[in-house]
């Protein structure tokens, strides 16, 4: 049984002023297995938040079906097993952290005694014990994000849906949230989270679903994600003759020159030593060596161009469900 099954959903919104509708999701299908962390990757405007809102019943799809633990969206049995953290969360500013978590627990139908115990536990988990009685209006952005995570895990849900959980966090906060999520994974909780930051995906996900313009453009396994996130090594050099660069064509992907400076992108890590030795032996000056991680835009440009090519040719095929589940 899939923990979450989103089957061929379509959604369009009416444009402002005009009566015409713009389709933002074009038959999107996602299946999340029990106990896995699935990353939902896409640029701004790809349809990530719309998909999440459909899953949670905040928006209705035009067509298609969503099942959570085999129940339809909005079913109490399903909703009580979901923990949700919205993007840029806003919580009741007039409440203290403790009051807010108690309120969330009551909404989830938790028993009073269990709730009191869990509130203590999650406040410690997100390291906000010193701010327990402070009103949320006085919280920083990072603290709000942690309070959001606390309310999402409060009722010990089986499925966590997190919309950009790392936004607004400092490096320490990011590590802390990663550790919390990995701890939940160890407890066989299923996590579905959206992000547009590749390193977050690499660090956490078992699989990733990459979407663009309301369509799944690719399913990536952890290996593929790691490969996507691997950097390219760029060597900046000065006083390097054209003949020297020509000798390196087997080892470098591309070269670029500006004045007496040249920039070489090394094909693979293993060729770096050869390239550097060759440059130094031929009188070139090495200015710097940098490992450049590809931005999400770089990944999308390559993925999306692939999709467009597919559409222009045979057309984009719907992902095969069995293959997807194998990951």
């Amino acid at each position: 049984m899939d923990v979450l099954a989103v089957d061929n959903i379509k959604k369009s919104f009416r444009r402002e002023i005009s009566l015409a509708r713009k389709e933002v999701l074009h038959g999107l299908s996602i299946y999340v297995n029990s106990g896995e962390i699935l990353g939902f990757l896409g640029p701004n405007g790809a349809g990530k938040t719309t998909t999440i809102k459909i899953i949670l019943g905040l928006i209705k799809p035009d067509s298609g079906e969503v099942k959570i633990f085999d129940h339809p969206v909005g079913d109490r049995r399903a909703m009580s097993r979901i923990g949700y953290l919205p993007e840029l969360p806003y919580f009741y500013p007039h409440l203290s952290l403790e009051e807010f978590l108690t309120f969330c627990g009551q909404m989830s139908g938790m028993e009073r005694r269990v709730l009191r115990h869990r509130v203590d536990e999650v406040i410690r988990l997100v390291e906000l014990a010193d701010h327990r009685y402070r009103r949320l209006k006085d919280f920083s952005k990072g603290m709000i994000q942690r309070a959001g995570l606390a309310q999402a895990v409060l009722h010990d849900p089986d499925l966590l849906i997190l919309d950009e959980p790392f936004s607004g966090l400092d490096p320490m906060g990011r590590i802390q949230v990663r550790d919390i999520l990995l701890g939940l994974k160890d407890r066989r909780k299923t996590i579905f989270f959206s992000s547009h930051i590749l390193p977050d995906m690499e660090a956490l996900c078992d699989r990733a679903c990459i979407i663009n313009e309301g369509t799944v453009v690719r399913w990536a396994s952890l290996d593929e994600l790691t490969r996507m996130g691997e950097g390219k090594i760029e060597v900046a050099t000065r006083y390097c003759g054209a003949d020297v660069l020509e000798d390196l064509t087997d080892y470098v992907e591309s070269t670029d020159s500006l004045g007496d400076e040249s920039f070489l992108v090394v094909k693979e890590q293993k060729y770096l030593r050869t390239v550097l030795m060759h440059l130094l032996n031929n009188g070139a000056e090495v200015l710097r060596v940098e490992n450049r991680h590809p931005s999400l835009e770089d990944v999308f440009i390559s993925e999306v161009s692939g999709v467009r090519k597919g559409r222009d040719g045979d057309g984009m095929k719907q992902p095969d469900r069995t293959l997807l589940q194998e990951g």
Binding site: F13, K53, L56, G57, L58, I59, K60, R76, M79, S80, I82, Y84, P86, L88, P89, Y90, F91, Y92, H94, L95, E99, F103, C104, Q106, M107, S108, G109, Q151
Partner: protein, 255 residues
């Protein structure tokens, strides 16, 4: 039921912590106290002035506070997405709306209670006699405010706070006059006007039935059956309006 009461308590807490309610409270207090200064101007009618101004303050300030507080509560939660914290849990949209409604009613009831306290204090200072009609008038004002709370919640499910405020004000004025308008139309209007007046009379809240101020001020008799009927009317009207609010809110998409 526990979820509804939690939402109501949270709404009550939010409303009480809103400065607007305190402004209304201070304003009502000043108004009631001012009657003590004004009363020497009306020779022999000191008691009537205190009662009249106090009851009018409770009714008008209570309704205004309900409109101002209620018009922003639902919409603010939707706009700021705080509503997601509730609706993504096993809570129905009907439970959410009823909780919000009860919370606003509780907050405004507190305002009414404190303002009634001011009135009683003024009457004690003036050594006035307490008549049952006085407290029945306060009770009916509270019912009137409750009906207006349901109207405000209804508008706030689909329109902006400014329009909610405007529509609710219009409904309050029209509702206060609906009985008079019907009587006027029956006497002087044509067939169409009479039908329209009757239709509006049934659709708009008939707030006239909650007005017992005249009887309370002039110590006139009143019927218990009228009070019971007004109570029943308020319950039914609130139920119907909240049901329509739910029908709209149920279809709402949180983009």
């Amino acid at each position: 039921m526990r979820r509804v009461s939690s939402i109501a308590l949270n709404t009550f807490r939010e409303s009480v912590r809103e400065k607007l309610l305190f402004v209304a409270l201070i304003f009502g207090g000043i108004l009631t106290l001012s009657t003590y200064l004004l009363s020497p101007l009306a020779v022999g009618a000191k008691q009537k002035i205190v009662t009249d101004v106090s009851l009018a303050s409770i009714s008008i300030l209570g309704v205004l506070a309900a409109i101002f507080v209620g018009s922003t509560l639902v919409r603010k939660e939707v706009d700021k997405k705080a509503v997601f914290m509730v609706l993504t849990r096993p809570v129905s949209r009907l439970q959410y709306l009823i909780g919000k409604f009860i919370g606003v009613v509780m907050a405004i009831s507190l305002l009414v209670l404190v303002m009634t306290g001011f009135m009683v204090l003024m009457m004690l200072i003036g050594k006035a006699e307490f008549k049952p009609a006085l407290f029945v008038a306060v009770y009916l004002s509270a019912l009137e405010i409750t009906v207006m709370c349901s109207v405000v919640i209804f508008f706030s499910t689909f329109t902006t706070p400014v329009l909610t405020l405007l529509f609710s004000m219009c409904i309050f004025v029209a509702g206060s006059l609906s009985g008079d308008l019907l009587a006027f139309a029956q006497k002087f209007g044509g067939a169409f006007t009479r039908i329209m007046a009757r239709a509006f009379h049934y659709i708009l809240p008939n707030l006239g039935i909650f007005n017992l101020r005249h009887e309370a001020v002039h110590d006139l008799p009143f019927f218990g059956s009228d009070v019971a009927l007004a109570t029943l009317y308020a319950l039914v009207y609130c139920g119907v309006v909240l049901y329509f609010a739910y029908l709209i809110f149920r279809r709402r998409e949180f983009i």
